[in-house]
Symmetry: C2
Subunit: 223 residues, 2 copies
DNA sequence: ACCAATCTGGTAGTCACTACCAGTCCGGTA
DNA sequence: TACCGGACTGGTAGTGACTACCAGATTGGT
């Protein structure tokens, strides 16, 4: 069956992607993003420049690959529609961050978080990466609005959802920057929750609300 | 005096910039951003490609030039520090938008608004422009935080200011998109105010700021 | 008339990125 | 086992944004 077939292929493909990306982030961190050419990355990874472009459509994608969006959207649709918008979105962002900082990269949590931090630092300090990263947030905003599932007939409600989503994402981004500045010593979900509270008021962030994600049970005994 | 000297030079310089930018936005709108080369813009403006690069460091800057930041910062420092953060920032954004939609481009208000709309549409629909525009917001965020003038010793207060600024800017951006979708038929400051109210609650936007831009004041007709 | 600063233009080069084409590997089939 | 179709990979030759480096032209002030 092409099923098994494709999973085998997909594994190899994912592995080469991982190797290329690892070398890319390392080189970018060592020499700087602009000072490193795609050819440099290809040589370090032992492939041709063509292969790099096959796996990553642009140089920026070597740092920016992100499955964050899917995670957030899933948690949004799972959230109770009775809650206020900001709480639904904020809860999904906090939970997704908890998942990301944990199982980011295979088994080794430590290495996964270091890798995430390295990518984040690049995204923050390199203008081109920062710009594309913020644009990804823009796409994520649309995904969130879709996941909220409000009827699209009411333009006022749609506008409200757009505003809530963009403001929440902006707060999260600020939290990410703060987290990176702290070298990841603090707990990312907590920082995000604090940012949301700072923006929308302390009452908007509820630790164990109607969001039935089991991950949230394991973390953050504070509050 | 080098004063008069420089102002004369600056006038010529500003004029050529204006011409180049006008042709650029026109061509980008007609043929699309990616399908238009810098050489095309240069030919249309009657200058060499080199001259274009002298005035606009990147192709994106042909659309993105923005003095918006300075306006907002000025209004922030002029605002009362007693008000809550979000109100100070939001008020500055609304007022700046009112200034921009009015005196954007010389004498002709109509043309100025059309030009602003054309640029905005490009910024929203073209990925590269959208990304850089959002990154400009990131720089504007820092400017706002600086203008707020909170003491930098307290990291908590600084974080709070960062979050408030980024969330306000995100709400404003959503309002800009909405305004562009409406082809500028609505009043931009009102849309921004509505977005801020949607994000932070109706009570946060107060028309009592003294500046005459508010949805309650019935300035339905321009002029 | 002369000087100095600025504006403008040309040439050559780097680099990201894109077709277009060819070789290679690999799982399943006659 | 020999073969075939679909992938992954690689090379070549471009385009286009952008950047030195250099040379002529214009302009404002002495």
């Amino acid at each position: 069956m092409s099923d098994q077939h494709s999973t085998l292929r997909a594994q190899r493909r994912a592995e080469t992607q991982r190797v290329i990306q690892a070398h890319a982030v390392r080189l970018f961190t060592e020499r700087g993003y602009d000072a490193t050419t795609v050819t440099d990355v290809a040589e370090a990874a032992g492939v041709s420049p063509m292969t790099v472009y096959r796996h990553f459509p642009t140089k920026e994608d070597l740092v920016l690959v992100d499955q964050h969006g899917r995670l957030v959207a899933e948690r949004i649709v799972a959230s109770s529609a009775a809650q206020p918008l900001v709480r639904r979105i904020g809860g999904a962002l906090v939970d997704s961050a908890a998942t990301l900082t944990r199982g980011a990269r295979g088994d080794d949590v430590e290495a996964g978080e270091r890798f995430l931090l390295a990518r984040l630092r690049l995204m923050i300090s390199t203008p081109a990466l920062r710009a594309r990263h913020l644009d990804n947030h823009y796409a994520l905003q649309r995904a969130i609005v879709d996941a909220l599932g409000n009827d699209a007939t009411d333009p006022e409600a749609a506008f409200h959802a757009q505003v809530a989503a963009s403001a929440c994402l902006a707060a999260m981004h600020t939290a990410l920057v703060r987290w990176a500045e702290d070298d990841g010593r603090t707990e990312l979900p907590d920082v995000i929750a604090k940012a949301l509270a700072a923006a929308f008021g302390d009452d908007i962030v509820e630790p164990t609300g109607g969001v039935g994600t089991s991950e949230s049970a394991g973390r953050a005994e504070r509050r």
